[in-house]
Symmetry: C2
């Protein structure tokens, strides 16, 4: 059984992430090197490897690399060599970077990891182009993986891509929906959006590692499910940080989601509560997009109406479901333990 | 031998295009129907099937469907049933639509087929999203094709996608290059850009039909080559229309390419001539982006310096090379004849 008390030498989540990043790095550098030099420069900036002058910034603004780690651990968890998961790791990391580039254009988010977003640094057109190049390269690399599993892996990645894009479409459409009444966004709609936008690629990352490692379909499906639950926990955490997160940590402006009228879990949960605070919140939100002072008040009311606690509960439930899905699957001991550590660490940001 | 004088019943290019569009239509409608409803609405608008209110506009602003026809004919040309080419036809048509949506964003082109471009009608973010959705759907559909050829077809499509994006990157970078001197765009650079931007997908369309039809690699490669030459001819024609085309026919503003400082073949060829007109042209271009009056003068000088004639020659050479590549390949008689008619018809627009 993985994760029992006898384990004395459990690495930390950041150890696990670092090991996987180091393993995947050469293949990721190779993939970016195959891009047109200009899109490659934008990709290197987006990945946090260099500044806008192309000067290396080692580790400066790099992401944690959760998705690449999941692909590597997915392969190890089904008893394959970590190297089997690397093509999947590269593909999901490139797709993730593509989605950040395009989402920042769509959401007009000027900051990403405390630096100007690619569209701010290079222009909207170039950012769109760089995203396209990353997406094309992601599928190309996976389709060219030697061995018998490339075709199944490509189909998995494609399914996740469709879900990702549909989730982003939902998220954008929600901004035009009312806060209450018959047109309001229901909990099931929110869940479906978040699963597409965030869960699909995390599930795909784990599943790809397993597919490339030659795992049977039920194991692949279980890992996909675990990753999707992790994504829902992750999105709930992100929603909390989007309202109460410290800009120095999140790298984004304070109350960013409130200013944009984003239909996030804390606000939807608060409105659903029906308390006095919920009614005041509803009135405030119905009037206009909040100013800085009003956003402060909205945040307080969301908290008072129980939105923050409800979203913490949502994150916890999905994290538990993710860990349960892992435990119910026959996986190799070390990888299962590392996945468990990683899952717990990711949700820890606001717990 | 295809195309000999004994053929009495040769269909016209538009007959061929119509037959293929009708054959592909149900599968294309099905693919668009699998998109999120909002991205599906934008896709239907982009494909010319409906207006921005979602009201059907049958045939109103539909493209000719050259790429889908090439995929169908590619399958027939290698002796397979036309239906074998349909998944390839759908994929290339969706990729083409994706590229139009994103290119219009990057080039800030407000008009497409005499209607507002998708980004003008729906906004930049939604247009980026709809393009992403089309691209994801294109690869997904092809990857899910039954039979033994899906993986090879996906690899072909991916290669074309990378070339397409790299060609677009070159085209955008060229706008920042000087008109003459050591930094000027040379003929080989222009050719490589045009082959990526326009040739890769046309070559891929023909090649996909052949791959899905089970053709041997040399036949697939020959069809790809023919399509790439067709693309270079097509781009030359497009460059001519971008300067001298009638806006009522092209659906774009007059002199659009000149106003943007696009490095097109007619201008590059004119400057390379070294005549008095070429020198005056160089001076005029070096001063500033042309006003309407100056654009008129630039167009005259390009013509006087032989740029239009040189580009007509370029189109003719590549069209001949494309038809030669077809004739040198063992293909079924009827499809080869229809391809020949189609190739000739496509370049006819300015010949």
């Amino acid at each position: 059984m993985p994760g029992t008390v006898e384990d004395v030498d459990v690495p930390s989540a950041s150890d696990v992430l670092r090991r996987c990043r180091e393993l995947v790095r050469p293949a990721l550098v190779d993939a970016v090197g195959r891009l047109h030099p200009w899109t490659g420069e934008m990709a290197a900036y987006a990945l946090g490897w260099s500044d806008t002058a192309g000067t290396p910034e080692p580790g400066g603004s790099e992401g944690k690399g959760v998705r690449q780690a999941l692909a590597v651990l997915g392969a190890e968890a089904v008893g394959a060599d970590a190297a089997c998961g690397v093509p999947g790791a590269v593909a999901v990391e490139l797709v993730h970077t593509f989605s950040l580039l395009h989402d920042d254009v769509m959401d007009a988010d000027a900051l990403r990891r405390r630096r100007p977003a690619v569209w701010k640094a290079y222009g909207t057109g170039p950012a769109v182009l760089a995203g396209d190049a990353l997406l094309a390269r992601a599928v190309t690399g996976l389709a060219g993986t030697p061995g018998d599993h490339a075709a199944a892996a490509v189909r998995r990645l494609c399914d996740a891509l469709n879900d990702l894009v549909a989730g982003q479409a939902e998220d954008l459409r929600f901004e035009h929906r009312p806060w209450d009444g018959p047109g309001a966004v229901g909990p099931e709609e929110y869940r479906s959006m978040a699963e597409g936008k965030t869960g699909a690629l995390l599930g795909c990352a784990l599943a790809l590692g397993a597919v490339l490692g030659g795992a049977p379909e039920p194991t692949v499906a279980a890992l996909d499910r675990a990753g999707r639950h992790l994504g829902l926990a992750f999105q709930a955490v992100d929603d909390i940080l989007g309202i109460w997160g410290d800009p120095a940590t999140t790298g984004k402006p304070v109350h960013a989601d409130l200013h944009r009228g984003k239909k996030t879990h804390p606000v939807l949960a608060a409105l659903a509560g029906g308390s006095r605070a919920a009614r005041e919140l509803g009135t405030l939100l119905a009037s206009a997009r909040p100013t800085d002072a009003a956003a402060e008040r909205v945040a307080s009311l969301v908290e008072e109406a129980g939105g923050r606690a409800a979203t913490r509960g949502e994150a916890r439930r999905h994290l538990d479901a993710a860990r349960d899905a892992l435990r119910a699957t026959p996986l190799t001991r070390t990888a299962a333990r590392e996945l468990d550590v990683l899952f717990a660490g990711l949700a820890d940001r606001v717990m």
